[in-house]
């Protein structure tokens, strides 16, 4: 390589390092690179196009989630939790609400649990569609990418009908969900899932055995199961290596022990297996939604517990007790007894954990979010060493780093 570029022509800013025969080129990729979604910087050390080493710089989207959570009441954290993984906001809402409920020792009503499962699985599908669609379009399969975004739009319409917002849903509360499903939920769901299924069938034909796609994905960015566990990878990245770890099966929360679904796994831990695991998880999520819609009972969607749950507006406006209860909960917060809890749920990218500490006042003492893609990004250098520059795009795409969640 050294012979191709005469020394005098080499730009002065590139540091030369003695690395055997060839020159090592150091360049920065990002933070705003058109081919990578998400704001992240790669400090690359290259030999030609081969990556010798990469140092990942994150934090460009740091907003102080954990510090902000300590300032308000427990319910004030729910909107912040939306904004962690904005590709699957309901899953974050559900994860956070479950952690607070475990800390407070209350349970939400049966119907709310079903609604959380349905909303969460819709969110998981949108998360996977975002990841797969972006990954496909980044390596040239623009049409497949747009088909998946189209399916995602149908699902976002559904999310909007349920929660009132496409992304900033703020749907869960301590003790349940804010509002019930729309009356025509079944028809809306059938419509959205029918489109999603047909899009997935199209994309399967377009991508799964596409020669160009396979060349870019198979055997690229791989990691073995032992290293993946050591790095704390969870979710589709770990399952692609063959480890069937899914929090929904490992420690079933909500009602996941009532549904019949499989945990797809891969074998090689490369980008293609990650793609296939996500692809098949979308089908499993649709299975869960169908079962949940068939089983869902009638009933309230909020627990009736005046210590922690806001009273209905009817009571707030018409009775002094309801007004006082509302005032105390809003001004002083939910006085959850002192204690701590770590609650894990299966987010779009893996184990989404919340470690909460309460000191008995109405405000969280410490809120720690265990973001799945933060730990996946730590493993990225190991996945990329020895690969080509162009493989950064596919590998980074399959890690599905979501800035809001990784940087908090």
């Amino acid at each position: 390589m050294a012979s191709l570029i005469p020394g005098s022509m080499r730009p002065a800013r590139f540091e030369e390092t003695d690395h055997g025969e060839s020159d090592v080129l150091e360049i920065q990729m990002g933070p705003s690179h058109p081919a990578s979604h998400g704001t992240v910087k790669f400090n690359l050390r290259l030999d030609g196009e081969t990556i010798l080493d990469v140092d990942v710089e994150i934090g460009y989207l740091h907003r102080g989630f954990e510090k902000m959570c300590e300032q308000g009441t427990w319910n004030h954290c729910v909107p912040y939790a939306d904004r962690l993984n904005y590709a699957s906001p309901i899953l974050n809402n559900v994860g956070f609400a479950l952690a607070v409920e475990q800390l407070a020792g209350i349970e939400c009503p049966e119907r709310a649990k079903y609604i959380r499962v349905i909303g969460g699985e819709i969110s998981r599908i949108t998360d996977h569609l975002t990841c797969l669609g972006m990954a496909a379009s980044e390596i040239g399969a623009i049409s497949a990418g747009f088909y998946m975004l189209e399916a995602r739009e149908y699902l976002y319409d559904l999310v909007e009908a349920i929660t009132g917002a496409r992304l900033t849903v703020t749907y869960c509360r301590l003790g349940g969900v804010v509002k019930d499903l729309p009356p025509d939920m079944r028809e809306r769901l059938d419509f959205a899932l029918k489109h999603t299924r047909s899009v997935m069938a199209d994309c399967d034909r377009l991508l799964s055995r596409n020669r160009i796609f396979l060349d870019r994905m198979v055997g690229v960015g791989g990691i073995d199961a032992q290293a993946a566990l050591d790095y704390g990878l969870t979710g589709p990245l770990l399952r692609a290596t063959g480890v069937a770890y899914d929090v929904r099966k490992h420690a079933p929360y909500l009602l996941y022990d009532r549904f019949d679904f499989e945990v797809p796994t891969g074998a090689n831990g490369d980008n293609y297996d990650r793609y296939m695991v996500r692809f098949r998880e979308i089908e499993q999520s649709m299975r869960i939604i169908d079962q949940a819609m068939a089983q869902i009972p009638d009933g309230p969607v909020m627990a009736n517990d005046p210590r922690f749950v806001l009273p209905p507006k009817q009571e707030v406006y018409n009775s002094i007790e309801g007004l006082m209860n509302h005032f105390k909960l809003v001004i002083e917060g939910q006085k959850i007894p002192a204690g701590e809890v770590y609650s894990a749920s299966e987010g779009g990218n893996g184990e989404l954990g919340f470690y909460l500490v309460s000191d008995g006042s109405g405000r969280p003492y410490r809120v720690r979010c265990r973001p799945p893609c933060f730990y996946a990004m730590a493993a990225l250098p190991d996945m990329l060493r020895g690969e080509m520059i162009a493989d950064i795009i596919t590998t980074f795409g399959q890690i599905n780093m979501i800035g809001g969640e990784c940087d908090r």
Binding site: D55, I58, Q71
Partner: protein, 174 residues
Amino acid sequence: MTPDAVLARVHTLLPTAVSAAPELARGQAVVTLPREGMVEALRTLRTDPELDLSLLSDVTVVDYRGRTPRFEVVYQLNSLAKRHRLRVKVGVPEDDTTIPSATAVWRSANWGEREAYDMFGIRFEGHPDLRRILLYPEFEGHPLRKDYPLNLRHPLVPERDPIATPWHPRTEGR
């Protein structure tokens, strides 16, 4: 294993471990370990075939200002095969905020400890690459400490010159 069985096994292996009060732990398995010899203790927890805590989910710190020791470093351990979790806490006093690094036991401790250092200023001794991770190198202070004011503003830092201050400072081991 149930949380009680996990705790019983931990006490057999590590006599110095102290269980947390059950009403505070909400039924989860929580132990506190002394700082001395904690890396060996964590390695025991990982390699013991009955506990098999192969996954370190998370490393974080809680600042209990006004209590001694002030900081608690918290490790969330998980066993995939045996389906149980264990939370290990290690106290760190305010006047000596150092603790041995767990990176030799789990590689996931690397970034977790970097974030803990970034946010709380706990120095993990033996960590291969203890730099700030979410914040920038010129940042002063550790924002998740309870005495860090919420409205503190920092001045804009001058742009770094990539030649004078290289952005890839690691040289060892690669």
